[in-house]
Symmetry: C2
């Protein structure tokens, strides 16, 4: 007997006869979230105890619960099906899930967790935008552009030429792999900078600005490369469209922002029901994310732009305060999912294509690291700046490298070893950047970074002032109750 | 060319060849959330301006954007497919969604929004648990049990007998419809009580306690009725299992809670990375929700129990403060979705089965309202209590009534008019309860209720104390930046 059909979550597939029991989907999502939160907290705390950025621990925690180890959190993308998911087996044991229904529940649950991860990184970039200052970013704009361009051109050229000359890879896959070396992962880099309290340093601003421009450049490179792979020729119209739409989106957002942020405050101040600040802010952030998504930029760039615009308003501090618990709830879903989907199987040298891949990977990793580290030395007019930190901050490729891999694989240009080599490059640059950044940004960390963090904590939770006002409330409501 | 494949959100169906482009699923979810937030804020604000509880406005806002009106937010359950969703058409126009891919994107997006709605009501009940005091609840426990039992027995008997004698409905569907009259919607009732600031009044505690017990009783009634409909006999074993598992869950949660809440505080105080309070709280709440779900109770009862347990800890106030923005983000998804799935088409008298249904509906609505209102008069030993308010608080059937309808429909026992009549009963009791409660609880609202709300707002955001400490922070971080 199906007792606990959840009323408003519904059969998921309009097009197939196989539907998932929505109560079981909810149970699967709840279990997945428990696993994610457990992995993120254990990993993050251990990482922080040994002096590394917590996000590294969240990634490693994700690897432990993911496809490489415990199989608690697996996704259909990695070729996994319901039978390889420990959570699904657990639901079969505890919740009466039938093997017939398992695939549908697995598919729905994975889809929901993937979208929650995506919402997590959207909220993360919105929060990063709220913590960044547009004027500060503009002040280092030219340096950021130079860093971004150098950081795209050098790894792309070195990677492509190296693969063709040293490894004899044909032109199209070599160009594709070179392109995969270009774009920096804003998510990882900005989270580490934020954890180190270095987001608002000059270095942090240059890295963030360059990572944003980098992402736009990467998307244009991708468009060129993908049309090359598909038709053997560059689709100039599409490339021009992308350049125009990306530039007008970013500039438009900033221009519009100056007008909109005033109306935002007016609207928020007129609202009287709960969520009067968060809901209008999310409407704006999600509309921007949607716009960025549909003009073929990434949704996270839209959320970042929305954060930048709202940072200019008087509501900044209160909004930052309210976003913290929401980010704490959703952002770990992103990082643990990234870790969980990382298949360390490509590092296994007993598989022949991996051995060949390992040699290519060593080359790609060197190009990836050196090609970004030197970008720091292209910064001009800033004699005091920590050039090494800027270069290191640009290293992580994270999810962006995998987008290139995914599209490249779908056109069938990659050999198995090359594809394994790209995955290894992405894994290594993603996992190496947080500890390296921690090493090259030491002073800031001890003095400004952690102090600033503590200040936020104290002011919001533990100052005598805040406590006394909370105690007042408690007394008052006790009076009401008695 | 597929440019913006989102890296970590994946093809959704392991079992079919039709997969949804995950970037488009994210775009669809973002648009749906924008619609939900817009509907909830406009509805909630208007409702609050005319002196009604905001949640009523959110429900009505949901109706406006849902299957009955604008078709912005529709779900496969209501028989809708991708072509009837305005958001999907919009994605086809703006984001290059192809008609072939539309069904998969529609299915995934609906699934994600449904689970977000479910997470919303789980968080709502967790928050309500955090605001409720276990000792206060226990103090009115006996009254709550009596109210719950009267509120189940009277509508069930009157409904079943009335349908059989007046309308000549056969025994099994009459019993099913009678059962659909029993369970109160905790979500709607507790939200309204919270909005009126009446959650911690004696009336509020009795209503809440009775609604919880009601829900458990309703699930047992459902088990009896469903096995009756299926086999013509009551599955005694299953009913005994349900009674034992439900009682041991609720009592076990409370007993375990007294031990666990100490370790919770110890753990939380040792954590140093972000989310040190919210993440452990959610791990606990989601585990409890999962347990409640798999023993065939509702997930929301587990979340409520978790909130009650954590309310006993020193972290209560800080946790309440951090849950607010999370609830503000997710709870509206639930109420707007409830509204959006409400098909007002059953009220259209030009359809013959509706005309017959309208007469039966009138009868069911009278039984539903009177059967609950009289429960207030079963409260003993509380001469000063607002009996009418208790009865009115038990009126909304909301989602629970629809669960009965869904299961009844799946066994094929309902005639079309009877099924339309049950939907009308659910709609009317759900929408009438918030304004009625507002009317019968007037004094509390003006004095305790809104004042208390204001106090919370002031203490957390606007007291001179809080502002001065935030300004300190701002100055301090400005110093760092310069």
């Amino acid at each position: 007997m199906q007792l606990n059909i959840v009323p408003f979550s519904l059969p998921l597939l309009a097009t197939t006869t196989e539907t998932a029991d929505s109560s079981l989907v909810v149970a699967g999502v709840l279990l997945s979230l428990v696993v994610i939160y457990f992995a993120s907290k254990v990993g993050g705390e251990l990482s922080s105890r040994v002096g590394l950025p917590p996000v590294l621990g969240e990634l490693v925690g994700g690897v432990l619960v993911g496809v490489s180890c415990l199989h608690l959190l697996v996704f259909p993308e990695g070729g996994a099906d319901a039978s390889s998911s420990v959570i699904i087996s657990f639901l079969e044991t505890t919740a009466g899930l039938t093997p017939d229904g398992a695939n549908a529940v697995f598919a729905s649950q994975s889809e929901v967790i993937s979208v929650l991860a995506e919402l997590g990184v959207i909220i993360l970039l919105f929060e990063i935008g709220l913590e960044s200052n547009l004027k500060d970013l503009m002040a280092v704009g030219l340096q950021a552009v130079v860093v971004a361009i150098v950081g795209v051109v050098v790894p792309f050229t070195a990677g492509t030429v190296g693969l063709m000359t040293i490894f004899g890879v044909p032109a199209v896959p070599a160009i594709f792999a070179g392109a995969a070396l270009t774009a920096t992962s804003i998510g990882i880099t900005s989270k580490v900078l934020s954890e180190l309290g270095a987001l608002n340093t000059k270095e942090g601003q240059i890295i963030l600005g360059a990572a944003v421009i980098d992402d736009v450049l990467g998307i244009i490179v991708l468009a060129v490369v993908a049309s090359l792979a598909k038709n053997g020729a560059v689709d100039v119209g599409n490339v021009v469209y992308l350049i125009i739409s990306a530039s007008s989106f970013l500039l438009g957002a900033i221009a519009l922002g100056n007008i909109f942020n005033k109306s935002f405050v007016v609207i928020v101040e007129r609202l009287k029901t709960r969520g009067e600040l968060v809901i209008p802010a999310f409407i704006f952030a999600f509309v921007m994310a949607y716009l960025a998504d549909v003009i073929h930029l990434e949704a996270i760039l839209g959320a970042f732009a929305a954060g930048l615009v709202l940072e200019e308003t008087d509501k900044r501090k209160e909004l930052q305060r309210q976003i913290i618990p929401i980010a704490d709830m959703l952002v770990p879903v992103f990082f643990v999912t990234v870790g969980a989907q990382t298949d360390l199987g490509v590092l296994n040298p007993s598989i022949p294509s991996n051995r060949e891949g390992l040699i290519m990977a060593t080359f790609l990793i060197l190009v990836a690291i050196i090609g970004k580290v030197i970008t720091g030395f292209s910064v001009f007019g800033q004699p005091q700046i920590n050039r090494l930190a800027i270069g290191v901050g640009m290293i992580p490729r994270g999810e962006v490298g995998l987008v290139f891999l995914g599209i490249g694989s779908s056109t069938g240009v990659f050999s198995k070893p090359l594809s394994a080599a790209i995955i290894m490059m992405v894994i290594l640059t993603t996992f190496i950047a947080p500890p390296l950044l921690r090493v090259v940004l030491p002073q800031k960390t001890e003095e400004e970074g952690f102090n600033q963090d503590q200040l936020v904590l104290e002011t919001s939770q533990n100052t005598p002032l805040a406590i006394s006002s909370r105690e007042n409330l408690e007394n008052t409501s006790d009076n009401y109750e008695s």
